[in-house]
């Protein structure tokens, strides 16, 4: 069973007046089949965690370890991490002019699977996945994320999640900027992947709203660059009622 282990992870970022430590010792274990929600206020370092796991060059790892089934993730390049089974659904997916969605998906699937998918089954696979996410077929001929609405971008991220079948999926604020209908469609997509039991999900969110659709096994409160409390789904209910205030104060004094 695939396991992502994050141990005492410290991450810095270059800011205008020097270096700033964003992650201050994150410990977390995500196993295949589990769903973890990471919740926290703005600026707590949630997205930094997501991007650091994927290997974004902006972030510098200054301490700690990340392993996937014992393999050192931090030693891998961005594309190697993806091929090892790590997937990041981005909060702000990037426009790639001149590259069509269909070309992008096929190139990506070829890289991840290690061989080009057979054309006939691939076309069917993509078509069905798009239908399930209410994505118009014309979408395939558009350039990646170019001129996409917020909802289209997020559905496109989940489409990739469904097609690439990672071991560990990190969903960075996939719910932000979505109306209720889009949130439902996107959540259903995530749930389909979860129901296979083959993915460990790390759901990063600011709001409890998405947790009505995607039920987490574990909820972690993130504040001041680390996990400050962990619990079951009931912790989300507490956050819903009380907000993050208790944690941000605590974080400041810690």
């Amino acid at each position: 069973m695939a396991t992502l282990e994050i141990r005492d992870l410290h991450v810095t970022v270059e800011v205008e007046n020097g270096t700033k430590e964003i992650l201050k010792g994150v410990d977390l274990t995500v196993k295949q089949g589990e769903t973890h929600a990471i919740m926290g206020p703005n600026g707590s370092g949630k997205s930094t965690l997501a991007y650091s796991l994927a290997g974004h060059p902006k972030y510098t790892i200054t301490g700690g370890t990340v392993t996937l089934d014992g393999e050192d993730v931090l030693e891998m390049s961005v594309d190697e991490r993806a091929r090892a089974g790590l997937f990041l659904a981005m909060q702000y997916p990037v426009e790639v002019p001149g590259v069509s969605v269909s070309n992008f998906l096929r190139t990506s699937a070829t890289a991840i699977r290690g061989e080009a998918p057979k054309l006939r089954t691939w076309v069917k696979e993509v078509k069905e996945a798009m239908e399930r996410l209410n994505i118009d077929p014309s979408f395939a001929e558009r350039n990646v994320n170019e001129g996409f609405s917020g909802g289209e971008k997020k559905r496109h991220e989940i489409l990739q999640l469904e097609l690439l079948k990672p071991k560990i999926a990190v969903l960075d604020e996939t719910d932000s900027g979505l109306d209720v209908d889009a949130l439902r469609v996107v959540s259903e997509g995530v749930n389909r992947v979860r129901e296979t039991g083959e993915v460990g999900t790390l759901l990063i969110t600011h709001y409890t709203r998405i947790l009505r659709y995607i039920k987490p096994d574990h909820v972690h409160v993130f504040s001041g660059g680390r996990i400050v409390e962990s619990g079951g789904a009931e912790l989300a209910d507490k956050l819903e009622e009380e907000g993050y205030e208790a944690y941000t104060k605590g974080g400041a004094s810690a």
């Binding site: 390049s77 961005v78 993806a82 997937f87 002019p97 001149g98 590259v99 992008f104 190139t107 890289a111």
Partner: protein, 394 residues
Amino acid sequence: MAEAQNIPVGSTTTGSIAVAAESTVATRMSAPPSFDVADFPVPHGREEEWRFTPLERLRGLHDGTAVANGNGVKVDVQAPEGVTVEAVGRDDARLGKAGTPVDRVAAQAYSAFEKASVVTVPKETVLTEPIRIAVHGEGGTAFGHQVIELGAFAEAVVVIDHTGDAVLAANVDYLLGDGAKLTVVCVQDWDDKAVHVAQHNALVGRDASFKSVVVTFGGDVVRLHPRVRYAGPGGEAELFGLYFTDRGQHQEHRLLVDHNVPHCKSNVVYKGALQGDDAHAVWIGDVLIEAAAEGTDTYEMNRNLVLTDGARVDSVPNLEIETGEIVGAGHASATGRFDDEQLFYLMARGIPEHEARRLVVRGFFAELVQQIGLPDIEERLIAKIEEELEAAVG
């Protein structure tokens, strides 16, 4: 109107559109067109038509110090049966018929060439094989004049290939008879040190179609000036361009489509990729719709993809309209960059770095390459683009 703009990376401009009583395209040149080099002052670099060009790298083409030395270029013309290939003197009536030099280097070329090459496709002759003109630089300095003439209803494809190393100034004239169809693919695949400055003049006959594909990969400085005029109504011009500007290279394409008669069409699409320090691409797209040119339909577009830091693009679309009785007129210019975020996004989906770059650049050029309509040329261009990318990515 003569005000040009430097379009910063990442921005989009629709350029300028002006309705003018008389053309500023003509008046902003430092001297009127002439075949005599003495009619042009030596440029100092601040003139509108020279301000983007590194004069100090022109190896004297602009100031009279460049002298032909006999080992400039070797020209080899391979023409199918029925085509006439002649070397003629400057008194030949076909020379200069398509257009007059508009700047000092073009006039210098006209004043200095020894023999002009004239390739003629007789009327109603439809070629099934292309005419191939290989211009190979031998390391010296040369001045050239090439005429390609198609009689009425003739059809031909011409591939002009520039390779090797040379300092070359030239004029190329395309004369299209009524109803003729000419496709010219002009490839600048020079070695790194070559300097190439040329004016291309097309005179498009009544109901004739002219398709030009200009491809610039090599050279230290390449400055081309493709110009189109129409000899009668119903003419059509498609001007496609593709350039890949590497470190230290200056590649400049200055176009003019002069809609001087009614009911003609033009479509200009130039796309370039740049990579490396001091890679500099310049694109000037002038379209003039004269008062007489009612029913004109024109569009011009320039797109640039900047792959690395340190490259520079100057893109100046310019549309002048002297009559409102037209079908359409539009233009666009945009320069975008392939940035680290795109790279990260593609790599985060398992795609290795070199493949990610190739994907983006191929995609960028694909639409243009597909419009060429000559499969062997299309394949060669794609291969060449890949080669350029490989050289950069290493």
